[in-house]
């Protein structure tokens, strides 16, 4: 009972809660709007395999995931057969739409992958109506290879060249999670003879930072491995924070693995520059203001099943044999970082301020012809 009748129940609900008010619904109420994974039978095998591989957690890096998806499309185009009496380009358009809606339900799409699918759709529609299915599949495979090369691999090496020049001797660089472009930048800076140190930040439950650590140590870079709860202790010694990205929204908000916003917030409090390495194919026309509208929930059971390292017996969760209707386990995959925390984007078109995202989109991608 509240002391103020008007503050009760429905009348005063300033912010909606995480628990459902009734016991019929399950899951986290605040994220009830997210798409649920459904079983779809009539989908090309390459995409079912892709879904399985993504869910097993083997592919976690955004560029890797995008290339993996494009390879699945390659398989799809190679085995493409005309099944309706439409023109091949129109038939393909329908099928691509079907695949797209399947991929949306699997929760594996990020902003870069959406751009790639958009690119394929536009290119399919460009073919003349009288083209044979054989030619179209050959041409599409060609187009996919070009995309991988020109939009993912080449930009990544351009970024690492720009980024490695920004790194100075005796820098202390804080990185988070695992991003191939960031690792590439750091390794290139090392090969230029720069002398710097890296603080690798990691967080439960995914612990992908260990991959970064392995890659950097292999390149003989000195690393300190910490968890996200200790970032505030180490932030004073940091000179630069370099992060990767899953994508950047049109309103300059950064979409990345959960925890990025936390690190940027702490870096901002200590007045440390935050640099984000991002290929322009990851820039999106969409806009987003918070981490609730779009997100992916990982299963809550990993909270209790994941230990800090393989074979760890020391840190045990006391929740492993505990279940209660009053206890939810919320495991987010992404979060959104406001542009006020980001000082610079390093892209293949150069180092730009974060506010230039819409400009880059307009200049390098027109409506009629993507790219």
């Amino acid at each position: 009972m509240s002391d103020f009748p008007s503050f009760e129940g429905e009348y005063f609900r300033k912010k909606s809660g995480f628990h459902h008010s009734n016991s019929i619904n399950t899951g986290v109420a605040a994220f009830g709007h997210l798409p649920h994974s459904e079983e779809t039978s009539n989908i090309h095998w390459a995409f079912s395999v892709l879904k399985m591989r993504m869910e097993s957690g083997k592919i976690i890096e955004s560029n890797e995931a995008c290339i993996e998806m494009l390879n699945a499309f390659k398989h799809f185009f190679q085995e493409y057969e005309l099944t309706s009496n439409k023109a091949p380009s129109r038939d393909l358009e329908d099928k691509l739409e079907q695949i797209n809606s399947f991929l949306v339900t699997t929760n594996i799409l990020t902003l870069g992958m959406e751009t790639a699918i958009q690119y394929l759709k536009v290119n399919v529609l460009k073919f003349p109506l009288n083209i044979t299915p054989d030619t179209i599949s050959k041409e599409m495979c060609e187009i996919i290879s070009t995309f991988i090369k020109e939009k993912i691999e080449l930009p990544a090496s351009l970024i690492s060249t720009t980024g490695s020049n920004i790194i100075k001797n005796s820098d202390v660089i804080l990185i988070y999670d695992y991003s191939l472009t960031v690792i590439k930048t750091l390794i290139e800076a090392k090969s230029l003879g720069k002398n710097f140190r890296v603080i690798v930040t990691d967080s439960r439950t995914r612990l992908d930072g260990k991959k970064s650590l392995k890659a950097l140590v292999k390149a003989k870079i000195h690393c300190t491995y910490i968890l996200i709860s200790n970032v505030s202790y180490h932030m004073p010694e940091v000179t630069r924070v370099i992060l990767g990205a899953e994508g950047v929204y049109n309103n300059c908000y950064l979409l990345n693995k959960v925890g990025t916003a936390m690190i940027c917030c702490i870096a901002n409090a200590f007045k440390k520059p935050v640099l984000v390495c991002v290929e322009t194919y990851k820039l999106s026309e969409k806009v987003q203001l918070d981490s609730f509208c779009f997100n992916v929930l990982s299963p809550g059971s990993v909270f209790t099943n994941t230990s800090m390292y393989e074979g760890d017996t020391r840190v045990q969760s006391c929740l492993s044999n505990f279940a209660s209707s009053k206890l939810l386990k919320l495991n987010l995959k992404y979060d959104v970082t406001p542009p006020k925390y980001i000082d610079m984007l390093i892209t293949e078109v150069g180092a730009i301020p974060v506010s230039s995202v819409p400009v880059v989109l307009r200049e390098f991608r027109s409506d009629s012809e993507i790219f």
């Binding site: 300033k14 910490i226 709860s229 505030s232 202790y233 917030c265 209660s324 386990k329």
Partner: protein, 349 residues
């Protein structure tokens, strides 16, 4: 006095070994130990009172050497010293040491006071014992006094975030639940020790709607949170907190979203020390809490770092909920002079 040192050391080491019982428990045991010390002390003349004070000071010095991070244990010693000083002053007993600091301007010009040499020493000892027993009682009831205020701070349908395990916060939330407030709690799990899991378990057992979140999701979810309530290990003279690592980030995220941060803590945790960075009071946990042993060729390139504590500056805290009511950080210095004598701020002088 020197003959007591091994005794003191033994006791303090036993405290150190039983470190996982929480610092409230340690404070209670220290208080009991000091009470028995006062009981056994030979108080034959008024000249023995300064000796009692220096004996307890010595104990305080040893405890800050042996348990440098159990700041509240040393606070208890300071509290007991303050009690003895107050009572002695009340009875006009000369307790001034030669290097005593003059704390007021009038102290310079004060005529040398006439100290009485005939006092009822039995009464003195009894009063001190009663006061120390009161202190013990305060230690035992402080959580209750704090949680009594819960209904004025938590309203219906609130979303409250907390981080890691704190028995004071737990009792505070349970008290709000017991007066019929319906609210939800988000608990940061506080890796690598996962104390947040224990917190979740106990909250859910009390029928409070609880959601366990990762440390990394704190910023992402902060926009839905109405209040952050955390416990602390020590409260510094400037209002800063010495807490488990990770709470600094939580407070910064709360500030970024204009969410108030409440700190529940007993006043025995208020310490006259001033840290101003993360290193003044800290320790490192074993790296095997976060990682397996690296392979031999990797060893020279990897450092594992697990600091146990965070120092949180007072600007990030909105309110301190203590056993004597809610306080602002600008008022804490005043409470210091109420509970401690200025001579005891630095026990080594």
């Amino acid at each position: 006095m020197e003959h007591l040192i091994p005794n003191f050391k033994d006791f303090l080491r036993s405290l150190k070994r039983g470190n996982n019982t929480g610092n409230h428990e340690l404070c209670c045991r220290t208080c009991k130990f000091l009470l028995s010390l006062i009981k056994q002390f030979r108080l034959n003349s008024v000249h023995d009172v300064p000796i009692l004070i220096s004996t307890i000071s010595l104990f305080g010095q040893l405890s800050s050497d042996i348990l440098p991070l159990e700041i509240s244990v040393v606070n208890i010693v300071r509290r007991v010293l303050h009690i003895i000083r107050e009572e002695a002053e009340h009875r006009n007993i000369d307790i001034s040491s030669e290097n005593q600091r003059i704390t007021t301007l009038t102290g310079f010009f004060r005529e040398s006071e006439t100290y009485s040499s005939t006092v009822d020493l039995i009464d003195l000892r009894e009063t001190i014992k009663t006061e120390v027993k009161n202190l013990m009682e305060e230690l035992e009831t402080h959580k209750h006094n704090i949680s009594d205020q819960a209904s004025t701070h938590i309203f219906s349908n609130e979303i409250i975030m907390t981080y890691g395990y704190s028995s004071t916060v737990l009792e505070f939330l349970c008290s709000a639940k017991s007066v019929g407030r319906n609210f939800e709690v988000l608990v940061g799990e506080s890796a690598p020790l996962l104390t947040g899991h224990q917190m979740c378990k106990e909250l859910a057992a009390k029928n409070i709607a609880t959601t366990l979140i990762t440390d990394s999701a704190v910023y992402a979810l902060m926009s839905r949170v109405n209040k952050v309530i955390i416990g602390t290990r020590a409260l510094m003279a400037n209002g800063g907190l010495l807490t488990e690592a990770g709470k600094y980030g939580v407070c910064l995220a709360a500030q970024a979203h204009c969410v108030p941060v409440l700190v529940t803590c007993g006043l025995f945790k208020l310490s006259p020390l001033y840290p101003f960075d993360q290193d003044t009071f800290n320790e490192f946990l074993s790296p095997n809490t976060i990682a397996d042993r690296p392979e031999s060729h990797e060893v020279e390139f990897i450092n594992y770092s697990v600091p146990a504590f965070d120092y949180i500056p007072p600007e990030l805290i909105s309110l301190y909920i203590t056993d004597v009511g809610g306080k602002m950080c600008s008022y804490l210095y005043r409470l210091l002079s109420e509970y401690y004598s200025i001579e005891d701020y630095n026990l080594y002088s």
